[in-house]
């Protein structure tokens, strides 16, 4: 396997809400390799944003690292001092956020913001070239615009251009297309993928959009209850899920249903952990649950070409396609 860009070991992160501790990450192990696209999938509250932000130590002050290590491009992020972190973010990392319009300074022309991201004193020619790389048509016009004068898709391309301005080794995109119109999502994703490939960077996409991931990711990590419950090649995980949560997610996703079928929402709500989960966090919502699931914390094990955190993986993968509800 190729070189690891990110190496996360038994990471535990909690949020101090003032009245109580909420555990967002409950022991995450993950490696991101050079030149790959990894998608992290899960509902809101599953911990995927916490994980992504933790890689750049961009978590709010309420977040506390309770255990574990994150090494990004050779820097131990949880221990690093501010200048080292700044250097790491500046030289090696690029972030793309969910809402591009609010990720741009509303009072500053695009040219100045992009110039700040590039560093130094780039000429407008260089800025326009960078914007053109992000496949913005009419870069010269956009240079002089303010963020509120751009469409969401254009703004996201500007944000992407700024993220790749210094050829980062690692791009982290948190729901990069969620706030965009459906018609341009695919194109923005294609641009992001193309730019990643050009620079041989690693791309981590945090998303809940399975159809998006299926097309762009090499590997998929499914998160639930602050843990990665299934991790493996995108094709294997999405075609034959071995974790009941992955299976339920696929059943709930739009896009691969037959006419006349109803999407099946996952019953129940995601857990809010106060401490280390001592059983399977998904058990209360699980169709495959047995006594053991509510008594014993499952650990990651290699199975069917992936890592899965489930006592019942064999039964899950052997079951038919996710049950669908017929429309009566």
């Amino acid at each position: 396997m190729s070189r690891a860009v990110v190496d996360i070991n038994d990471l535990v992160i909690g949020y101090d809400t003032g009245t109580r501790q909420v555990r967002a990450l409950d022991g995450v192990d993950l490696t991101v390799f050079a030149d790959e696209t990894l998608a992290i999938v899960g509902e809101s509250g599953s911990g995927k944003t916490t994980l992504g932000m933790a890689a750049g130590r961009l978590l709010p002050p309420e977040a506390q690292v309770l255990g574990g290590r994150i090494t990004v491009c050779g820097v131990e992020v949880t221990q690093a001092d501010d200048p080292t972190l700044r250097q790491l973010r500046h030289d090696r990392l690029g972030f793309v956020f969910q809402n591009p319009t609010s990720a741009l300074d509303p009072t500053m022309r695009i040219s100045r913001q992009v110039a700040l991201a590039m560093g130094g004193r780039p000429g407008s020619q260089a800025i326009a070239e960078l914007l053109a790389r992000a496949e913005l048509s009419e870069p010269d016009r956009i240079l002089h615009a303010f963020p509120h004068e751009l469409s969401g898709g254009m703004a996201q391309r500007v944000v992407i251009a700024m993220a790749i301005a210094r050829n980062p080794e690692l791009l982290i995109a948190d729901e990069p297309t969620a706030s965009l119109d459906a018609s341009i999502r695919a194109r923005v994703m294609t641009t992001l993928g193309k730019l990643r490939a050009e620079s041989a960077a690693s791309l981590v996409i945090l998303s809940h959009d399975l159809s998006l991931i299926a097309r762009h990711a090499d590997r998929v990590a499914v998160m639930y209850g602050g843990r990665i419950v299934e991790l493996g090649p995108a094709a294997a995980v999405l075609d034959a899920p071995a974790h009941p949560y992955t299976r339920a997610l696929l059943a709930a996703a739009a896009g691969n249903e037959e006419p006349g079928e109803r999407l099946r929402p996952i019953p129940g709500t995601p857990p809010v952990l106060a401490g280390r989960a001592e059983a399977c966090a998904f058990a209360p919502r699980c169709l495959f649950r047995e006594a053991r699931c509510e008594a014993e914390r499952p650990e990651a094990r290699a199975f069917a070409g992936r890592d899965v955190v489930c006592h019942r993986a064999e039964a899950v993968i052997a079951s038919d396609a996710p049950p669908r509800q017929e429309v009566r």
Binding site: G56, L58, F95, A103, D105, M108, L116, F146
Partner: protein
């Protein structure tokens, strides 16, 4: 052209406001017990003498007629004459305006020089550490809640006992004695500035705190920008809009005549003039004074509107 479109509704609103102010000051003066005749003639006077005075100044006319006459005169630029001195009111305002302006500029200068940097500092510290309490809130709350007359009285007491270069009262024009002028203007200026420091500090602090939670600041942090760059390039400008608004309001309030402080320190500015006019029921002075203050206040706020359309491109289409 877009500037005109931006300003036109504001000018219309300003004119309506001025009409309201003129009505309010006109009526409230006449609701006060006692009138000019009582001040001039004293309590033991015949009704005949009273009637002569009332007739001479048109005070026997119905209120509507009085108002129409006054408003008509104001519209044609006639501010009336002081009933006490028989001198044109406008001449007296113009003579005193520079004094009030100087006082206002001192107070504004101190308020901005102290309030803005302290507000930024306090906001950045609070934002970075999520601290709810710090010196910024303390200074802001104290400065805003100490009344002018209390603070002025304390300063007068302290600097009467120990002069410390400053002078209590004894105003001299700048042209006659610059140093003496500064020595006498600093204490009233400082008294006025304390509220401004608190106001600008708190507004700046809150604005900085709000801006720091915006995603584009997180984005800048994620790009590895240094704190200095983030503050200079992103926070200051974005936080400036509410600060411009309160600064304009504060400056307008100062220019309207800092009545209490001018009276306290015997500064012969517009505020003292209006105050004396009020004591004498010298209607023309008070009415013109309040209306002029309103004009100044509204004009300054309109300038602020234009200014923040320039700061924030989303606000208006001025360019």
């Amino acid at each position: 052209m877009r500037l005109v479109a931006y300003l036109l509704p504001r000018i219309a609103a300003a004119l309506i406001t001025l009409f309201g102010v003129s009505l309010l000051v006109f009526l409230s003066l006449r609701l006060l017990p006692g009138g000019y005749a009582d001040i001039l003639l004293g309590p033991f006077v015949t009704p005949e003498a009273r009637a002569i005075i009332a007739q001479r100044y048109g005070l026997d006319q119905p209120l509507v007629v009085q108002y129409m006459r006054w408003a008509g005169a104001m519209l044609s630029g006639d501010f009336g004459v002081s009933m006490v001195t028989q001198r044109p009111v406008i001449a007296e305002f113009l003579r005193r305006a520079p004094v009030t302006l100087q006082l206002a500029l001192i107070a504004l200068g101190v308020a901005l020089a102290a309030g803005y940097p302290l507000g930024v500092l306090s906001g950045v510290r609070a934002g970075a550490q999520r601290k709810k309490r710090d010196f910024g809130r303390l200074v802001g709350a104290m400065g805003a809640s100490v009344p002018d007359f209390v603070l002025g009285s304390v300063l007068i007491f302290v600097f009467s006992v120990w002069s410390l270069w400053f002078r209590v009262g004894g105003y001299v024009p700048f042209t006659a004695d610059p140093v003496g002028n500064i020595r006498s203007m600093m204490l009233p200026g400082l008294t006025l500035s304390v509220f401004g420091v608190a106001l600008i500090l708190r507004t700046t602090r809150d604005a900085v705190l709000r801006v720091m939670t915006e995603p584009h600041i997180t984005a800048a942090v994620a790009r590895g920008a240094s704190p200095g760059t983030i503050i200079r390039r992103h926070i200051l400008r974005n936080a400036a809009i509410p600060v411009v608004t309160v600064t304009a309001t504060y400056f307008g309030f100062l220019l309207g005549g800092a009545v209490i402080v001018e009276v306290l320190f015997s500064i012969p500015g517009v505020g003292l003039y209006i105050f004396n006019g009020l004591l004498n029921r010298d209607y023309a002075i008070v009415q013109a004074g309040v209306l002029l203050a309103a004009v100044v206040f509204i004009t300054i706020n309109m300038l602020a509107d234009i200014l923040y359309a320039l700061i924030d491109p989303r606000v208006g289409a001025v360019r």
